[in-house]
Amino acid sequence: MFKRRLTAVLIVFCLWALIAAGKLVHTSVYDRGRLLDKSARQAWRESEIIPPRGKLLDSEGKVLAWTEIYFDLVHIGALETPQTRATLLNIVKKVFPNCMLSPVGSRRYLLKRGLSPDEIAQSESLIQTIPNLMIERRFERRYVDYPELRPLLGEVVVENDMMKGVSGLEKKYNEQLVGKPIKYIVMLDKFGNWVPGTWRPITSISQSVDYQTDLNLSELLRKSGAAPQSSNSKPTQAKP
């Protein structure tokens, strides 16, 4: 009797294993295409990278206008109660004791401005665990320290995360300076972070093109009606 009963148990488990093996093959082979499509919709995202705006140079190659890139730690999404805001701030303060929570626009909060490379590395642990916390790139346009050249060089405004020239050389050569966005595809994990090694471009990678004037700095200054000073470029705050 024991032998018969044990044999029955063995047969039942063999059948169970056979059903499991069949389901394994079904999922891995027959249903694979549909599941891969669904999973791709869940995980893969297409977006674009906007290259930094090209430089304005004089005829001798001296930089008249350039773009600097900064990285800020921001939270995107509503923080409805003071308690939620305080909780978030307390968690981030463990990594950045001097951070503050400043609302910037609707459903956006700035926690720390201008992260250094070390701070970007330190932020990784926060970004992987706190949903909607991310590092955002910010461009700032800088100009050579000759205020009299500014009308000639022009101004930029930021529209849809891209700088657009609205006056002067910035406007005249805007298309050349702005370049083409690079379209890419990347896999996101459950926290919305990029999965390492999955980024790849869809369009060819092209950089923005610098514009070089026909005149050198002294000639440009004479043209604008000012006397040439030191040719060392000093950074000034550009208007966003």
Binding site: R5, C14, K23, L24, T27, S28, L36, K190
Partner: protein, 369 residues
Amino acid sequence: MTQQSAIISSPQPRDDLWSGQLYFFIAFFLGLWSCLTIYNATIFSVNPFHFTGRQALWLLVGFTVMWMCSQFPFKSVFRHIPTITALGFFLLILVLIFGTRVNGMKGWFTFGSIFIQPSEFCKIPFILSLCLVAKKTTSSGKRLLFMISTIFLWTLPLTIEPDFGTTCIYLLGGLIVLWLSGIRLTHLGLIVLAMGACGSLACFVGGHHYILERLKGFLNPERYQATSGWHIMQFQYTIAQGGLTGTEWDNSLWSNAYLPLAHSDSSFASLTESVGVFGAAPVIICFLIMGYTSWRNAIKTENETARLFVGSMTFMIIAQALVHISVNLALLPPTGITLPLVSYGGSSVVSTMAALGLIISASKRETPH
């Protein structure tokens, strides 16, 4: 020389030796697959060798324990069943008082960074106690009553923890022992129905509504993909990534990015992503070979208790493996059960290997001089 026949340990018959070595080989193969699976499932973590290294250490401990248990005469183990049972049950009660709560379940003793789960080790005394009860009671009615009471006593602390996954495995093990000890099929059917009814009542009365949510997600995972069906959908996506031959060994993207508990409760799916069907199927085959080997050993063993133990213990391990695999294949709702010898977990590895060692010991034939 006396006329009394003395049972002595003779040099092992050849097929005993072979089947003992087979258990070791199966444990080695599954242990190797375990290290590779855990490494792949944690490749994006800060230190992917952390869990793999610990698992390798536990496997070393496990092999030592397995060898020691295989050398221990089963008759000695049988004599000490009451002590082993009392100790095991005491640990289950103690963990309810002094244990650490992890993910809502109070089932671990912690010693620094080491977590010991007594419910894993208590599977052996659980089966042994049922075998003892089956041996000692001659009346079939009394045997049924005492065995059901024993099952109830062992599973009560587990439901209080609450660890419903392990409770189900204990119940499956109990049903296997009941069946092998000679219970009628109708009685077995009634017991299964009663267990189902008690379980459903416990869900409603105990307020464990998450179990009902899990069932809803299991029955229609695509509809509840954002909530209770999430884990099941991730199982399917992970397995689909692997296909027939798997992705590369350090490229298990889905296991790392989306699959919850890829190194423990979801290890079969994670393994399949890495090695595909061709690599995952041998795991199922290993457990079937284990079952067949124990079947052969059990029917050859003359000692009734030993053969009952060999059959019950082996198929309880295989039941746990098949439950885990079925959960990962979305054939069963998620239960939080590990895959023996493959999933990360020192308690599970060492206790399973101890059980295999005792199975080898119980399978050894004693020949009269």
